[in-house]
Amino acid sequence: MNRIFVNVPTRSRTLIGAAVASLLLAACATGPVKPSGADEARAKLTQLQSNPDLATRAPVAMKEAELAVRVAEEPEADPALGQYRVYMADRKVDIATARAKTAFAEDQRAGLSQQRDQARLDARTREADASTSKLATTRVALADATQQSADLQRQSADLQRQLDELNAKPTDRGLVLTLGDVLFATGRSDLKVGATAKLNQLVTFLNNYPTRTVAIEGYTDNVGSDDYNLGLSQRRADSVKSYLTVQGIASTRLSADGRGESSPVAENDSAAGRQQNRRVEVIISSPPSAAR
C-alpha cells in the first residue's frame, strides 16, 4: 500500500483516501444489523407481559421467550442467522402465550365448577322444596280424606238413627215403614189431625237423603167389598203421597198404589188381626250404592 501512495501525487492521494473511507463506511452499513422482524417479536412479547391475566401464568416459557427475543434483537451480519433467530423468538413468544392462556383457562375452571356445584345445589334445594310442598299437599289431602271418612261414618250413623226412629224394617224389597190405621178414621181416607208426626219424620229423612225414592202402598182388612177396599186403599195411599208432596218432596220420587185386602199381615178373624191388616206401607228404596 505504501508503495502505491509513494508513486501518486498528493492530491490523488487525498482522493484515494476518501474513496477508501467511503468503502469502509459502506462496509459498516452492510455489517451487523438488527434482523427485521425482531421488533415485531418484541412487541408481541411486550403485549403478553402487559396482559394482567396472562403475564405471570407461564413463567418458564415466558423466560425462554424473553431470552430468544433478546438474542434475535442482537445485530447480526448473517441475514440467514438473523432470520433464524427471529423465527425462534416469534415461536417462543407464541408458545408462552398459548401456555399462559391454557393456565388461565385451567384457573377459571375452579370458578366454573364452583358455579356448577352451586347450580346443582340450587336444583337439589328446589327439588327438596318441591317435595316438601308435595308432602304438605299430600297431608292436606289425607286430612281431607280422613274428614270425609268421618263425615261418611257420621252420616251412616245418622241414617241408622233416623231409620231407627222411623221404625223401618229392612226387607228384601227395601226398608219398609208401616203406618198403622191410626192415621185414618174408619172408612175415611183423609189423614187424622195430629197423626202426621211419623210422616214428618219421613219427610225429614227424605230431605236428608234426596236420592231415595218411596213406594206408598195402601192395604185394608177383608171387611167390605173388594172394589171398595181397593178404592179405599188407593185413596189412603194417595193421601199420604199428597201430604208428602205438600211437605216439599218431589212427586217424581213418590208412587202410590192401593192393594185392597191382598197381602194381609195377620188373620182377619180377630179385631186385633184386622187392625194390623189396615195399614199403609212406605217402602224406601235403597240408594244405588247402598250405605246401609
Binding site: 433464524y84 383457562a105 375452571r109 356448577r116 347450580a119
Partner: protein, 137 residues
C-alpha cells in the same frame, strides 16, 4: 544476524507447506457430522404433538413442523449441516407450538362446555315447575 539459521529455516519451509497441505486436504475430505440430536429432538416433539391431538387442534403448526424436518433432512443430504441444524431446531419449536396451541384449544373447549352445561342447568332450574318464586336465579 547469522546466515546459517536463515538457510536452515528455508530448508524447513517445504516440509511445513506439505504438512499444511495434507491437513487442509483432510479437512476437505471429512464433512461435519449431521445434527443428530437436533433431528431426533424435532422428531420426538412432532410425535408428542401428534399424540396430543395437534392434527385436529393445530394442524397448520404441525404441518410446518413436519415440513421443516423434511427440509432439515434434505440439508443433511446436501451436507449443509449448519442449515440442517437450524431447520431441525425450527421444526422442534414449531412442534412445541403445535402442542401448546392444542393444549390451549382443549382447555378453552372444556371451559366452554362447562359454561354451556352450567347455563343449561340454570335454565332447567328456572323452568322447573314448583320452583319457589323469589329465590336466587
Amino acid at each position: 544476524m547469522n546466515d546459517s539459521p536463515q538457510r536452515r529455516a528455508d530448508s524447513r519451509l517445504p516440509i511445513a507447506v506439505a504438512i499444511a497441505a495434507v491437513l487442509s486436504l483432510a479437512a476437505c475430505a471429512s464433512t461435519p457430522p449431521p445434527p443428530t440430536a437436533s433431528l431426533t429432538g424435532a422428531r420426538t416433539a412432532i410425535g408428542d404433538a401428534e399424540k396430543a391431538g395437534a392434527g385436529r387442534y393445530a394442524a397448520a403448526e404441525l404441518g410446518e413442523a413436519r415440513q421443516k424436518l423434511t427440509d432439515a433432512n434434505s440439508a443433511v443430504e446436501e451436507k449443509d449441516m449448519p442449515r440442517a441444524q437450524r431447520l431441525a431446531e425450527q421444526s422442534h419449536v414449531e412442534a412445541d407450538l403445535a402442542s401448546a396451541n392444542t393444549a390451549e384449544a382443549k382447555a378453552v373447549a372444556v371451559n366452554a362446555e362447562m359454561v354451556h352445561s352450567n347455563d343449561t342447568l340454570n335454565q332447567e332450574i328456572q323452568r322447573e315447575p314448583g320452583s319457589q318464586p323469589g329465590s336466587q336465579p
